[in-house]
Symmetry: D2
Subunit: 405 residues, 4 copies
């Protein structure tokens, strides 16, 4: 009888490297390592680094190791809908990790199906959100697959894990250890732990990798024009780019002005508040432009309801329910709204700020001749009196009968 | 028989100056002019300017003219609740004018009662939001009072109004005419009209009065610590100030760094989109700090529901329903939440940005020993597995039965 | 030069009969009368009655008169979506008139286009909701068409209108006058006015036409099984029927048991409360069954969000925004949810009640082996402890830090 | 050293009877049994039955046993707010058990404090909602107390528990075993298990105890008038009653007409759907009347927002968060709304139906002279045109620019 197989989400770091051996020793699995490129190693040169990760998995005892370049898939299937829904958890965080987890799980399941594995695994602890995202995604797309969480189950400290690995000659990298826990993809970068756990202290400059310090940002503002079609950015300064490349380009240019840093106290699904540092130059710039274009293009009742649903949407994704019936229904709502969101937004970038400097659209609902106070005014002012009287009528009746209560 | 009296909201500008005479000629009113200081002339020196306004009203034909210093009342009764509710219309605009209109109407009604007037009046056109705010407020607090809207009813262009005034020797000021329509109080400043009516064009620097241009902002960041008690800011850098003074102080310091400019396309209640430029250095700085402190202090279910209601709250106020039963009920909800919002927020100010550099609270819900990944971790990781399994159970059952639909 | 043409929504009653002549005399229109059959004259024999209505229009001076049998269109395009969204205004009223007005307006516009008319007209007063529905629908689907509201503009009392008609030999029917104002279609029947305007008084039995008095209802309950596919009822007791016929059948059978009476005080868009009597045997029976089947078939997060949106949906339709971008987006949300709503519901009917006696679905999410407390229990009780601990954790932290506030 | 003490919620049934011994044997606790009367044994004669329960606890090995008559406390502190918020989970279930659990937990904690116990316990399994309500309430009001769940932890089947009890001579009652799991208090009665687990089958008549079968209901309707003050019912047919007695009276009279049966498929917090049978004659009658009076008394914007929040409120309570900051904030919102809810509602009762036959209020917002179509009409119809035009303006602009998309 052969050993059961498990496909492990593999990052190349200490935790998942020791997990390969632990899953074999403790659970009897043959581990297939699966490393997914969602843009964590930058727009260029990723292939080489991903190959290094792949080989490390084999060195650590994986029976097989595969690398998937999922950058376009990530941009198109996950970041695109997040842009359309202006996805910001708690109004602030563009959901970097929460967007990649369902994609990674989808690949783990695919590889499991292809290699005859009945299980998948992830390297999350019991305290974060990512365990939820991996496992609930698996329940949604492969409800019968087994999910292993070796790090959560094992409960080993970092130091103990290093000793455990050294005893077994597992070639883990320990010298390049960062004091922070980092996750990264083309939509942004996250950091927690260490000194960041004191929310009164500013994050040290060393935490950041994709945005310059304000003091080092250029002394001249820069302008960047984003073109949107049906709610998605399709061109930068008139140059068409596929979404993955467009995000990388905007990220680079906005980051060069120190744009994109987020410092927040966050509510985790598992019931605790944590302090998080995010770095999302491209995401914040694109979302700011997108929201502004919506203000120009969306009819006001639709706009208002959509703003209300966006919080729910972000929460849903944050909580691991990307593949869920409510998410599908919300996507359908959002998709209708995005038919109307096409046009251009001029963004200013300077010293940490990304602001809208102008917007226009061939299908925008701003009507100069209705809005203007100059001679071309087409608005019928006499209708206003009737409107105001009936608008206020419920309040007036209330005031007469109950105003003193 | 004596002429009926009307109390007119008087600004000293062209429109309300000619309205005094028009109301007398066309409607037979004796007009009492009422000028309210809500901070539009700055923290200091307001009294002298307000006295000039008062005398101009008399010169224009008012039978009486009164000035009210309502700065503290405005801060305490109107801006305070707006801070507590993080009031931003469309997520962007801190509701400068919408907050002052109900206060002004309250004083118009009070003066009407005191002077035996059965009517009040405002100088709004039929196209803006302010007509709604004046009139619906009146319906709410004095449902039997008559409200006149001479400018809306008259429909005269600016040039025609000047000729009309000159024919009658009404001493209107015409040379200092701004191309923009401005409203201002201690919570911010609004500008519309002229070149601003093209939403693709950036506002010219001359539009702004309370914030320096980014290029002119200091090259060094500044830090400012706000202390909150029960949801309201009570001290700046440890120095206690009443709310009106505190806002003015933060406004001055944030404006000196170019903070507070808002450029947006806005949905008016009367059904049109308009392009608006706001300048709110103090408001944006305070609201950013307040929201951040809430993230530290509010339990997550409450925080999430409150965020959902804030949009409704802002819309309600924008739409003139400050004095309404729904507003009372929302205020009661917000008031409970603010019991938990006390602490300090360190704000960074630099080149147009106001960011949170740190936050702390003796009653904050961030618990280092739960959140940390270091040795003091008190979180029970073994509970997570059960949690995740049940959290995902509805999705899993859905996937089994309906996942393919 | 020929007279301009107008297409008038014609019911055959006094108001629209005199409006034909008034529009000709006062506004110079040639009036084309358009009578739409949306089920108001019952499932059978409608054609004959509609032909009588058509001839009356010609007798009253219309230059042309057309009859449209829109019963299937009404059921499929308007009632179907309303079922999917469980549309009940204020949680009570299935929106009888509000559903037919956009359909009627769509036909008025179509006939106008076909007959070269640049205007349409309706017979509503200025106090009800229907004026809004006609006019806003026209703005949405034909923003350049002129809409005339002769009754609202004219402001004549009923008695004066009769005199006016008699002076002109307009053959209006005056003897069959009901003390109530009635509207009717296949989804229900509405009544207002007269004694109904005292909300403390029960409606007299004569108000009702589609449901028997409870005392006259059969002494034996009846069962009726509805089959739903993708959210719509498709069969009664196993017999497939198109939607219009199915509604008529359920309406007849439920009405025979006295089901379907609604007595409510309602908030109109124009700012007043009115007392309304509705009679909707089929609508209430179908909606009760549909909601119950959703409880069986919808995943709980989706179900909860949908319930929240249903109130907004009903309000939107009530307020005349059937053809609006928000309605389109909500329909897309609802459509996704309805993929999961298929199965059967057994309804009991007796003495005014329609209740669910049982429900089943091949894709229902009720899982006996998870739900049961008997020996086949597959639920893992040990997961519950972890779940409860983390579920309560935010409350626990709150209690420790803030519970006393 | 003495044994630690635990206060157990004791019902007198098999589970909690064996739990007394199990907690002693397995966990070393001295158990204090606490039986709370929340109306489960009827309005009268409860004291005697509760005393029997108390003595049984002692017979089963409790070191002490206390009985608490909490009927008025339950009505005033728990049912009252639930009425004010029209609390119906999923729009259907008045939350019978969910309302009593926080009260019971509050008494367990109180008795624990008084008797020096550091732990409390409940007899719930791991599959239901009640475990959550007990434990989260404890976290909220006594975050440091230990909560034991012996039945969940033990995992014994009913038959095994009986054997276990007989081996130890624990005097459990086994012959009167119902095939259903029942919970009951003055607000209603719940039943699950057995044949009820097939949601296609109607519940057998034997399930019900507080409502007669429709066939046995009187052949004459009955009328019952409820008087409300500030949102709470205070009198029946003009006779003032405290809330607990009033509920019992309405429950009895409505139940005699077969009113109050609820048959639903319900979404549990722990992720499963269950089929539930509730019997709530008084609750449904009172809630129907209360909602109707709100339609008469609440201004429409407030009414609409309140309806939206009611679903959240019910969910919160269902999910065990009665003592939570969000619940406090929602209660404050609701309390403001209830200032306006006073008046009388006439209810009809007949053959399973409870309907509103009339309503009136000295502070109702129905204004006959505004609503009427007769000669006393005070509504200004000419204002309607302006209102409709501006109301539809956003749709019109949308239609012109985007209507074809």
């Amino acid at each position: 009888m052969t050993a059961p197989r498990l496909v492990l989400a593999y990052s190349g770091g200490l935790d998942t490297s020791v997990a390969i051996r632990w899953l074999a020793e403790q659970k009897g699995y043959e581990v297939v390592a699966c490393a997914i490129d969602v843009g964590q190693v930058g727009a260029d040169g990723g292939a080489e680094e991903m190959e290094r990760v792949r080989r490390r998995a084999l060195d650590c005892g994986a029976v097989d190791a595969v690398v998937v370049d999922a950058r376009n898939e990530f941009a198109d299937d996950f970041v695109g809908p997040a842009i359309a829904a202006n996805t910001l958890y708690m109004g602030k965080y563009p959901l970097v990790s929460a967007l990649s987890r369902p994609l990674i799980t989808r690949h783990l399941v695919r590889v499991a199906r292809e290699t005859g594995a009945a299980a998948i695994g992830h390297g999350c602890t019991g305290k974060g959100n990512d365990q939820v995202r991996f496992e609930v995604t698996a329940m949604a797309i492969a409800p019968d697959i087994v999910v292993e969480a070796p790090i959560r189950e094992w409960g080993l400290s970092r130091d103990a894990a290093i000793v455990w690995a050294q005893e077994r000659d597992i070639p883990v990298q320990v010298k390049t250890h960062s004091p922070y826990s980092i996750d990264e993809n083309l939509w942004g970068r996250t950091a927690e732990c260490g000194i960041l756990e004191d929310p009164w202290e500013s994050p040290p400059e060393e935490v950041f990798a994709r945005s310059v310090a304000l003091a080092d940002a250029p002394d001249e503002p820069e302008e960047l024009t984003l073109t949107f079609a049906d709610g998605l950015p399709v061109a930068v300064d008139g140059k068409e780019l596929d979404l993955a490349r467009l995000i990388a380009e905007v990220d680079r240019r906005a980051g060069a002005h120190g744009v994109g840093r987020i410092d927040m106290v966050e509510d985790r699904l598992v019931g605790i508040k944590s302090r998080e540092i995010y770095e999302c130059p491209g995401a914040l710039t694109i979302l700011t432009a997108h929201r502004d274009l919506e203000d120009l293009c969306l009819e006001q009742e639709l706009a208002q309801e959509k703003r209300g649903l966006e919080g729910r949407y972000a929460q849903l994704v944050y909580n691991g329910l990307w593949f869920s019936p409510l998410k599908k229904a919300l996507d359908a709502f959002v998709a209708v709204s995005q038919r109307y969101v096409s046009g251009e937004v001029r963004m200013g970038l300077y010293k940490g700020s990304a602001w809208v400097a102008g917007r226009r659209s061939p299908i925008g609902l701003y009507d100069h001749d209705l809005a203007t106070y100059d001679a071309s005014d087409r608005f019928d002012h006499t209708q206003a009196e009737g409107f105001v009287r009936l608008w206020g009528l419920p309040t007036k009746v209330w005031a007469r009968r109950q105003g003193s209560l």
